[in-house]
């Protein structure tokens, strides 16, 4: 005789009821997560998804079935007048497009992206990768992570992901940090970078995007509330301070140092230098042979300073950069040519200011760059 039937016969009816309750609770626990996902899927179905594969890349779409009858695509209205980009981004369900020109894939970057606390169903991702061997490796690694995330827990899934392969030639074969930062290589490198950024931006920017967050693939640490914090300032263009963690041998412990020098306030010296230059020459920051005496945001840090302190800037860096989509829609792009002797993100700030949009920086709010 096995013991189980005997014990059941002896059990108190109360414990049966308790067991039942437990079972219900357990089943609820199992199903509760997908049930949330189903609910958000319903929202997506109703308002955000498109009925055909020709939808904007910032929206998910329903796969056409093979046996589906051939029908004409519908006429879709986008009420762009109602689109907001405000300080209460999350409360107003404003969509964010995170754009990343990706040359190397870092797992830390992806993990940091997943830890962003802004509702993922309001986030679309866009990546552009160069052609070639390095690009192929990075694409493969990226796609593995994308597949994992998009089939995993529904609260972590992003609204949509677009992966582009670049059509422009990358002027430098090597992506090593040293080679990349050589002065003579800078103009060609940053021109190619601008083209990649523009290609990514103009093909993925949808009619329902409110914000664009530029996040470089080597940004491996940001506060999880990055989007909310930056959006709360309600500025057309806003950039946090980009630093790098490293092992300080003198102090014998981990320390931080400034990394991105492209966020600055202009100086008369730099202006005078620009006037003497040829039409296609560019001014660069962070090179001793070209001292511009600009005020760099990297050096505006106050120890234990107010993280919400704002500074108006004339040039911005693109490692992490939150832009209202309207600024890009008005035409502010990353010039791949010398625009007022500026190029790429710095030229972007200049072009935005020509269009009447001011750029701001947060000197005491940090994001961290990968250390090679």
């Amino acid at each position: 005789m096995s013991p189980s039937p005997r014990s059941l016969r002896r059990t108190n009816p109360i414990s049966v009821v308790l067991a039942l309750l437990l079972a219900v609770g357990f089943i609820y626990f199992i199903f509760s997560e997908p049930s949330d996902g189903a609910a958000s899927n319903q929202i997506r179905d109703a308002t955000k998804s498109a009925a055909n594969a020709l939808s904007p890349p910032s929206l998910p779409f329903r796969k056409p079935k093979d046996d589906e009858e051939l029908v004409a695509t519908p006429v879709v209205h986008y009420m762009m007048s109602n689109l907001t980009n405000s300080a209460e981004a999350e409360a107003k369900q404003e969509t964010v497009l995170i754009l990343t020109p990706l040359a190397r894939f870092y797992q830390e970057y992806w993990d940091n992206l997943l830890s962003l606390s802004y509702p993922h169903e309001l986030i679309s991702l866009g990546f552009i990768l160069p052609k070639g061997k390095d690009g192929n490796t990075a694409t493969q690694l990226l796609q593995e992570q994308v597949a994992k995330t998009q089939s995993g827990s529904k609260s972590k899934r992003f609204a949509s992901i677009t992966i582009l392969r670049q059509d422009t030639e990358s002027p430098l074969q090597t992506q090593s940090e040293h080679e990349r930062h050589k002065l003579e290589n800078q103009k060609a490198r940053r021109a190619a970078m601008s083209k990649a950024r523009n290609s990514l931006l103009f093909t993925t920017l949808g009619p329902r995007t409110s914000w664009v967050l530029w996040l470089d693939s080597d940004i491996i640490e940001t506060p999880p509330t990055l989007i909310q914090d930056l959006a709360a300032h309600d500025k057309p263009v806003i950039v946090p301070n980009c630093f790098q963690r490293f092992y300080n041998k003198e102090l014998g412990r981990m320390d931080v140092r400034p990394y991105d020098f492209n966020s600055w306030v202009d100086s008369p010296t730099a202006q005078a230098m620009g006037e003497k230059m040829g039409k296609d020459d560019i001014l660069l920051e962070g090179y001793p042979e070209m001292a511009t005496y600009r005020t760099l945001m990297a050096y505006m840090v106050e120890p234990d300073g107010d993280t919400t302190k704002e500074v108006q800037l004339d040039g911005v860096g693109g490692t992490a950069l939150l832009v209202k989509a309207d600024v890009h829609r008005d035409g502010a792009m990353f010039p791949p040519f010398a625009f007022y002797h500026l190029i790429e993100t710095e030229g972007f700030a200049k072009m935005a200011s020509r269009l009447g949009w001011k750029s701001w920086g947060l000197p005491n709010y940090f994001v961290f760059h990968y250390n090679e």
Binding site: V24, F31, L54, T73, Y78, Q150, R165, T203, G206
Partner: protein, 520 residues
């Protein structure tokens, strides 16, 4: 437990064993007790209880499920989907929305024979108060020979005070519900965005010099919004087309594409009423840069915008429009620096790499001219076709309208005068007898008299009269005809046809009167 058939095959042996050993064998092999072959044994309480428990548990589960479904309605769809689709992973993924897309931009570079490679075109049309032109625009759309399913349409409707949006939606719906599937276009998006522009869209204020800079900048803004929202990684080409184009070849997309240029525009003219010369260059924004203009640009301040076609800025640039030869080779190309926006075909990669319509003063130009400048700056080829012409709708300007009103008034005055003249003539006719019959009668009398005289003299001077006989009637006829054509020729260039014919008869009458009077 052993299966029952197993025990029956070895039945004989066990039988004997059972007989010989009795209860010993039973106790040694308790598991075989149920299979005692010669004895009926009801199912044990044990198994019965087990079955009852199973039913009990199933019952509880069946009760729980509806309760769960009742409390969590979202579960129903989940269960329904897994049940209907077989509950397999693959099919549940089918049910999900597609969220990941992969594109290789080197596949959408744009080639000379795009229709063979199924290259997609984005057709952009910014609209404002454009309802009157929409039916014409849609007839152009229906006629395009480029495969419609490869063309995505994008419209930006802004600050419209008329029914542009409703009419546009109606026309698009009917286009997408056409019986012929070849009429259907690809993705169709209508962006509605009010920029709050105050600039008036009527012809006069649109083309006035003072309004140009700010108007061009706001037009540029609208174009950029439209493009950035509609451009996809699938597009190889972008075609900008104004809705007020009246005449254009159906094959315009292929014709422009064949040149395989980064940016290409046709020549744009417009038909005019006869009194203005019949036709006129319309789009003066396609031009080649000149030294004068570059020197002028240097003298202007940062936000100034040079606009073509105004006396304020004499640029001396060669314009695409003025180089047109109606019999020239339509494939002839011309390098240009500024482009007009009526009909631009550009490779999508031009826009992808960042060229746009500057809504600020870019090298002293804005909108489409600035676009041309920026494309050149980024080393793209910008080309115009001087002898390939499309025709813009003629909308009379305020001056033209004033002039036409003057002409109308003049015409009415003239008609009034003529009517008065005619009435006067009527009155004269009534006062005097109709002279025509009198004149005929007189003529006949003269003829009779002449014949008589002739017959009388015939007998006397028969030899010398042959010449006179022939000449006399001819001279007669000439005398009758001369008054008719002469005044008609003199007056024709000034007067309308009807008058031209009428006048001579009056003249005839006058002269007839005169003759009659003279005779009397």
């Amino acid at each position: 437990m052993l299966p029952s058939f197993n025990s029956s095959t070895t039945g004989g042996k066990m039988h004997r064993h059972g007989y010989s050993n009795g209860h010993t064998s039973y106790s040694l092999r308790p598991s075989r007790s149920d299979f005692e072959p010669h004895q009926f044994q009801p199912r044990s309480h044990n198994s019965l209880r087990r079955r009852r428990q199973l039913i009990y548990r199933l019952g509880i589960l069946c009760l729980c499920l509806p309760v769960l479904l009742w409390f969590f309605p979202s579960l129903r769809t989940y269960i329904l989907s897994t049940v209907t689709l077989g509950g397999l992973f693959s099919s549940s993924e089918d049910f999900q929305l597609e969220t990941v897309r992969y594109y290789d931009l080197s596949n959408v570079q744009g080639t000379a024979r795009g229709w063979e490679r199924e290259e997609r075109i984005l057709l952009c049309a910014p609209l404002r108060d454009a309802a009157p032109h929409l039916p014409m625009f849609f007839s152009h759309l229906r006629n395009l020979t480029y495969p419609h399913k490869l063309i995505d349409l994008a419209f930006l409707v802004g600050d419209s005070k008329d029914n542009t949006i409703t009419l546009l939606t109606e026309l698009l719906e009917s286009l997408q519900h056409d019986k012929d599937p070849n009429m259907w276009y690809g993705e169709i998006s209508i962006m509605e965005k009010d920029f709050g522009q105050t600039v008036n869209q009527d012809v006069e204020s649109r083309h006035g010099f003072a309004a140009q800079a700010s108007r061009r900048k706001s037009m540029a803004q609208a174009r950029n919004w439209l493009l950035s929202a509609a451009l996809r990684p699938t597009h190889s080409w972008v075609y900008w087309r104004d809705v007020d184009v009246e005449t254009a070849p159906f094959t315009i997309l292929e014709d422009l594409m064949r040149h395989n240029k980064d940016v290409i525009v046709p020549n744009v003219w417009r038909p005019l009423p006869d009194w203005l010369g019949g036709e006129q260059p319309y789009d003066l924004n396609s031009w080649q840069e000149s030294e004068t203009a570059l020197a002028l640009a240097d003298t202007l301040d940062e936000d100034a915008v040079i606009v073509e076609g105004y006396a304020e800025y004499a640029t001396w640039r060669p314009h695409l429009a003025y180089l047109r030869d109606p019999y020239g080779d339509p494939d002839m190309e011309m390098e240009i620096d500024g482009v007009g926006g009526v009909s631009i075909l550009a490779k999508a990669r031009v826009f992808r790499q960042g060229v746009h319509f500057p809504a600020f003063s870019f090298e002293k130009h804005a909108e489409t001219e600035g676009f041309g400048k920026m494309a050149k700056r980024m080393k793209f080829s910008v080309v115009g076709l001087p002898h390939y012409t499309i025709w813009h709708l003629y909308e009379p300007s305020v001056d033209d309208i004033r002039h036409m009103e003057d002409m109308e008034r003049e015409r009415k005055d003239k008609e009034e005068k003529e009517r008065e003249e005619r009435e006067r003539m009527e009155r004269i006719k009534e006062q005097f007898d109709d002279p025509a019959s009198q004149w005929d009668k007189d003529k006949n009398d003269i003829k009779d008299m002449a014949t008589k005289e002739y017959l009388e003299s015939e007998g006397q001077q028969q030899d010398g009269q042959h010449k006179d006989e022939h000449e006399q009637p001819e001279a007669d006829r000439e005398q009758e005809q001369v008054p008719a054509p002469a005044p008609a020729q003199a007056q024709a260039p000034e007067k309308k046809e009807g008058e031209g014919e009428k006048k001579p008869s009056e003249e005839e009458k006058k002269s007839g009167e005169g003759e009659k009077k003279a005779e009397v």
